[in-house]
């Protein structure tokens, strides 16, 4: 009976003792859905020595946190995580579950959807509730972002979606806000699990990645050459920013693939986004449009990027960039201002 299912849940993803940013964003998004439905917001947290993180979930909007703490869950593995979450869902019956569209979030959600025979909408960027029919409306960009599709799961529960990181907003932290912790056992033996994580190799360079940058200086094909990208690095240096770019620039070999922004690259939402020599194709824009302040420099006054920016300068990036570097340097020296580095 689908009426038995009540409540909104969020997968709380733990990485090296911390909660992934996307999980806090989803608590924010989940809070809005739960309020609309007038139900509690739950988080579920699996791992080893993770119970202390529940308090953080309360402070970001959760009313309840379901915890399974077990040495087997120390590193993410599909099977034990699926086992634990499926059992929680069977017992407590939430109507909606959100997962970050991360490596592990997507992996887990796909396994659970099959295990519970329910629907899963992938890589969503908009979430809402149709109150009249008590239905979850999960929308995702399709075909390179040219079109949005709303996907519904009418007859199965829970209704599930993975949500792109950096699209939803976390609520301001309410220190001291509390909730209920509900603990459950995993009930598995290590010997029954068919995969082992032998080693985790972390790339420190990647860690300070685009997704966390406060300021991003991005370049497109209009930069002209790999050498000209040096100007972007100089500006980034002055501002403590990260450099990113379009797919065409990555394909030209001017920039590493991990620094591509857009539909098939990273989604970013820095406080300031500079777009130099970027035309503003929809596939690029979907990856940066949630930035707080977007500035575009393009020599074509009709470039679509100007329709996705707050401020625009029609001009040659090669001429503007050196002036901008100089001007920022002077301004920051005068104010003695420091840029908050990431």
């Amino acid at each position: 009976m689908i009426e038995e299912y009540r409540g909104v849940w969020v997968f709380i993803e733990e990485r090296q003792g911390e909660i992934a940013g996307v999980s806090l964003e989803l608590l924010g998004a989940g809070r809005a859905l739960a309020d609309k439905l007038d139900v509690p917001l739950g988080g579920f947290l699996l791992g080893y020595n993770v119970k202390n993180l529940a308090q953080i979930c309360f402070e970001y909007g959760a009313d309840e946190v379901y915890v399974i703490d077990d040495p087997i869950l120390k590193n993410y593995r599909t099977e034990p995580f699926m086992h634990g979450v499926s059992n929680l869902v069977r017992k407590y019956k939430p109507e909606i579950i959100l997962y970050g569209a991360t490596s592990n979030g997507k992996d887990l959600a796909s396994a659970i959807a099959t295990d519970l025979s329910t629907g899963l909408t992938a890589d969503t960027t908009m979430l809402d509730i149709d109150l009249e029919n008590r239905l979850f409306e999960a929308s995702r960009p399709a075909f390179g972002g040219n079109i949005m599709a709303t996907i519904l799961c009418k007859k199965h529960r829970p209704q599930m979606a993975t949500v792109r990181p950096k699209v939803m907003k976390a609520l301001p932290r309410q220190v001291g806000r509390t909730g209920t912790i509900i603990e459950e056992k995993l009930g598995l033996e290590e010997s029954s699990i068919r995969t082992k994580v032998l080693e985790i190799v972390r790339d420190a360079k990647k860690k300070a990645n685009l997704a966390d940058a406060h300021i991003i200086v991005a370049g497109g094909k209009g930069m002209g050459s790999e050498e000209n990208f040096q100007l972007l690095y100089e500006l980034a240096d002055v501002l403590g920013a990260s450099v990113g770019g379009t797919r065409d620039v990555v394909e030209a070999g001017w920039l590493d693939h991990s620094l591509q922004i857009g539909q098939t690259g990273e989604t970013v939402s820095p406080k300031i986004y500079f777009a130099f020599g970027i035309s503003g194709a929809i596939q690029h824009v979907v990856g940066m449009k949630n930035s707080e302040l977007i500035i575009a420099v393009n020599k074509d006054p009709n470039a679509p990027i100007f329709n996705a920016s707050h401020y625009g300068i029609v001009g040659d990036a090669m001429e503007i960039l050196p002036l901008l570097i100089q001007e920022f340097k002077a301004a920051l020296e005068k104010s003695g201002g420091v840029v908050e580095h990431v």
Binding site: S103, D115, G119, F143, T150, C153, K207, K271, F306
Partner: protein, 271 residues
């Protein structure tokens, strides 16, 4: 070692256009191709076979034209191909897709047990990445998604050792065989096909099964009927408002821009 690769025929989304009036896809003249990730999966399967011996089969669900992606897989080096095609498969979401593929895999395994299943990380049209883990769940074998390297395949001890990509690096994972992996494009470069493969591919006729050829299938779990998700509505996102343009000479523009940024984002530039 019997390796089965699931391959999907997809429209080349690099070319696909959306009709802005009707919000429908304009597929005219858009070629159907082998999902690029699946090409890398076939290549990896062939490389594993060349190292440890065995056989590579490919499986596709789609219309009769999907024979083309099976031929393409034979070109890359697969030994055999199976196509399941039936109107009753149509309109499937990922749950119904994995159910159909699972039933075909069961039948293939009856002929010759399967040690390893490979899928692409995702298909470039539906783009969910949900089918691979779904198949693994149904077969009750462990899944490893986002594989960027196969380090070791140990046929005797029945395990595989792979690198799995995560946000800030990669994990080295050992999984018991049989298992299912989904591959990233960076796992390999697809080699040029040798002439004999091309000749074999040109003449190749895959095994074709309809729903009735599969055993013990619950029809209600197939196609549109078996799909819990439905597309509610489609719309084109509203174009955003136009930027405020900063005028003047380059020097003036830059001066004004910098003071605007410093004012609007003062918290970033505090004392």
């Amino acid at each position: 070692m019997h390796i089965v690769v699931c391959v999907k025929q997809v429209p080349d989304t690099k070319i696909i256009k959306v009709n802005p009036k009707t919000n429908t896809l304009d597929r005219r003249g858009v070629p159907a191709i082998l999902n690029p990730y699946d090409g890398h999966a076939v290549e990896e399967a062939v490389r594993i076979k060349n190292k440890v011996g065995g056989k590579v089969s490919v499986l596709s669900m789609g219309p009769p034209q999907a024979t083309e992606v099976i031929k393409k897989s034979i070109e890359i080096g697969a030994d055999a191909g199976y196509l399941i095609t039936d109107r009753r498969f149509a309109g499937a979401d990922t749950l119904a897709t994995s159910y159909a593929l699972y039933n075909a895999l069961k039948k293939i395994a009856k002929e010759e047990p399967i040690d390893l299943v490979l899928c692409g990380l995702h298909a470039i049209d539906g783009d969910t990445g949900q089918v691979g883990p779904g198949i693994a769940r149904r077969l009750n074998i462990p899944p490893v998604t986002k594989v960027i390297k196969v380090e070791e395949v140990n046929v005797e001890k029945k395990y595989i050792k792979v690198h799995r990509k995560i946000e800030d690096g990669y994990e080295v994972i050992q999984a018991q065989l049989p298992c299912l992996i989904t591959v990233e494009k960076e796992i390999n470069e697809i080699s040029y096909s040798p002439l004999p493969n091309m000749i074999k591919a040109a003449r190749y006729k895959p095994v074709i099964w309809s729903v009735d050829d599969l055993e013990g299938v619950d029809i209600s779990q197939l196609g549109l009927k078996g799909s819990p998700t439905v597309v509610g509505k489609m719309w084109a996102p509203k174009p955003p408002e136009k930027a405020k343009m900063i005028e003047g000479s380059s020097a003036e523009q830059v001066k004004q821009l910098v003071s605007t940024i410093l004012a609007e984002k003062s918290e970033l530039f505090q004392q």
